[in-house]
């Protein structure tokens, strides 16, 4: 075997600068994430709940039409609503309350989807920056024409899209199914506001949660430790709040723990974005519906929730930028 005289052949192709660099980071992050075990299972976990919501919307239409099947549909509907802890919504009053029921169903869906977002970030997003720190990939990244902000944007988009798969996509799917099985144009007009609110809510939760998990990922190199820290951040205050709730005279405690519980604040944010107070008031059945919507807990302290979530977002952004810059330097000089 001869020693090859490796001739350097000049590059004769194009060298484009049309594709934004963050897009390449996004593609790489998604590719690596989707290669993980059970990735599809986790990312599809939001779909059954969306189909359940679609079925509820369909049964609402059947009940609203009346006729032979309405009674049976009403019974099924009652059963399905119980699954979503909306057991007080009785069939006779459903025709007038279709749009409020939609709001309540989506509120309950988001309640479930928040747990999925926690799981998705723990599984996929935890390693986004931690992995680069561990494999010393930052000097390679930053030897290319990208800035720390571009890098973070690409990473954040990965976390955002993965979270969107279990919150935005199922919500859009449920909404579309609901519209298609109803009198489409009327329902579209009635629920256009709800649609926009749903998109804003889903994007907000996916975006903020993605940024927070990135900040943790930038602080810790070990993927499992990042996942544990993320789950603890979300759930510890919520579990503590649950204990306080159990022991409080009214069944729901308010106080500093509830104020910092991210899960509870996210639900307050959802309650506010979905405008449930107004929707419930318009039905004239506040006594019935406010209990189901948890108005006592989620309908209060909206300002505080916005401050907590906004502050956390700002803090996460600062941590990400500072840590990435610092690790860029440290990784290079190591």
């Amino acid at each position: 075997m001869p020693i090859r005289r490796r001739e350097y052949r000049r590059w004769e192709g194009e060298l484009g600068d049309r594709r934004p660099s963050w897009f390449a980071i996004l593609q790489n992050g998604l590719r690596l994430g989707l290669k993980q075990k059970h990735a599809t299972l986790v990312l599809w976990a939001g779909i059954p709940a969306a189909l359940l919501a679609g079925l509820i919307f369909y049964l609402l239409v059947v009940v609203g039409r009346g006729g032979e099947g309405a009674g049976e549909a009403g019974r099924y509907l009652g059963g399905l609503l119980q699954i979503l802890a909306l057991h007080g919504v009785g069939a006779p009053s459903l025709v007038e309350m279709t749009v409020p029921v939609w709001h309540l169903v989506f509120f309950r869906l988001v309640n479930y989807q928040l747990l999925l977002v926690v799981v998705v970030h723990a599984k996929f997003s935890a390693d986004l920056i931690a992995g680069d720190l561990r494999t010393r990939a930052l000097p390679i990244y930053f030897s290319k024409p990208i800035t720390p902000a571009t890098y973070l944007l690409g990473k954040w988009m990965v976390a955002f899209l993965l979270a969107s798969a279990v919150i935005l996509v199922p919500n859009l799917l449920a909404y579309t199914a609901g519209v298609l099985v109803s009198d489409t144009f009327v329902r579209l007009r009635e629920t256009a506001g709800l649609f926009l609110r749903l998109v804003a809510l889903s994007v907000g939760i996916a975006g903020v949660s993605g940024l927070v998990v990135l900040a943790i990922s930038a602080l810790i190199r070990d993927r499992r430790a990042v996942a544990v820290a993320w789950v603890a951040l979300i759930l510890v205050a919520s579990l503590a709040q649950g204990v306080f709730d159990e022991n409080s005279p009214g069944g729901i405690a308010t106080g500093p723990v509830g104020a910092v519980s991210l899960y509870r604040n996210a639900m307050r944010f959802s309650y506010w974005i979905l405008d449930l107070d107004r929707v419930i008031d318009e039905t004239g059945q506040r006594r019935l519906l406010s209990g189901m919507a948890g108005s006592d807990v989620y309908g209060t302290g909206t300002g505080g929730a916005l401050v907590v979530l906004g502050g956390l977002t700002a803090l996460a952004l600062i941590v990400c930028l500072k840590r990435v810059h610092r690790f860029q330097v440290a990784a290079t000089s190591a």
């Binding site: 001739e7 350097y8 494999t135 030897s143």
Partner: protein, 309 residues
């Protein structure tokens, strides 16, 4: 020769630790060897040149521009870091392609450029395999390919030959020379003098963050003449190789290691470096690594800094 990089009283501290201290030098086009022991400040200097670090004092200019926060300049520079920086699970081709896209290429352009760069480093046969399955030399070549992928004018390579076997080393040195002939500027850091001597005459010598010497390597090498040096060769056929090397006049002693490898003393490491690949290939002897435990550059620093070895 045109000056590509200018350093003017350049210093970099990490807190109280000095990375680089008051270095003034010019790096021309062609190949320049950046020599220094581990921790001497080579990587700091290269990181300053690629804009990954900001100077604490003084100035560095690459193509007349300050590299810090200058992403436009980075599209003219290719950088191969010393350590492994791979994402697990990717093939060599996907890795290089992804980094091509970071340079702003579309998928199609990135595919073509990645294939081209991989071809330049002789990895075409293995480009579809996962990096985790690569040998150290293959990983090193893949890193060089990612540095090349956007066809930069300046190539900065941090210890690019470490871990490569003699045959690959000869091929890569040849590649760097050809690139320099094509008008590119190549900066190669190393702590092995004969590696650098095989590709360039122009060197910068750094020790403890300070520029100890720059200029012609032969002047530095003359300081080492007559000094014997240890070379370790990783091969399962050490005994066979020892038989073939024993008659060479530049071999002082030979010893078979426990793992079958060969440890030898030579009075002329450069000549050994030139002849060894041919001996290995002609006699079908596999070789995984060649290293210099003596780290002969220490001797040079001993002379230049008047410190004992």
């Amino acid at each position: 020769m045109a000056v590509v990089i200018e350093l003017e009283q350049l210093s970099k501290w990490y807190g109280e630790v000095m990375g680089l201290n008051n270095v003034t030098a010019s790096i021309p086009s062609g190949i320049t060897g950046l020599l220094g022991q581990n921790g001497a400040g080579k990587t700091t200097l290269l990181a300053l040149a690629t804009g990954q670090l900001r100077p604490s004092r003084g100035e560095i200019r690459v193509f007349g521009q300050r590299p810090w926060n200058n992403t436009a300049l980075l599209s003219r520079i290719g950088y191969c870091p010393e350590g492994d920086s791979f994402w697990p699970g990717l093939s060599g081709r996907k890795f290089v392609r992804m980094l091509a896209r970071l340079s702003g290429m579309t998928d199609r352009q990135a595919c073509r450029a990645a294939d081209w760069a991989i071809e330049q480093v002789g990895m075409t046969e293995h480009k579809g395999r996962r990096i985790a399955e690569y040998s150290r030399g293959m990983r090193q070549r893949t890193k060089i390919a990612q540095a090349l992928v956007h066809d930069p004018e300046l190539l900065i390579l941090d210890e690019p030959l470490s871990g490569t076997d003699p045959v690959v080393r000869a091929e890569l040195i040849n590649l760097f020379k050809r690139m320099a002939e094509e008008g590119k500027t190549v900066i190669v850091s190393s702590h092995v003098l004969h590696e650098v001597a095989a590709m360039t005459e122009n060197i910068l010598l750094i020790d403890h963050g300070q520029l100890v010497a720059d200029g012609n390597i032969h002047e530095v090498r003359s300081l080492l003449e007559g000094r014997r040096q240890r070379i370790a060769i990783g091969t399962p056929a050490g005994r066979k190789l020892a038989t073939l090397l024993a008659p060479k006049e530049y071999i002082i002693s030979l010893a078979i290691q426990e793992d079958g490898g060969l440890l030898l003393h030579t009075s002329d490491p450069e000549r050994l470096q030139q002849e060894l690949p041919r001996i290995l290939l002609d006699n079908d002897i596999p070789c995984s690594e060649m290293a210099s435990p003596d780290d002969n550059i220490r001797a040079v620093f001993g002379y230049l800094t008047r410190r004992p070895e």
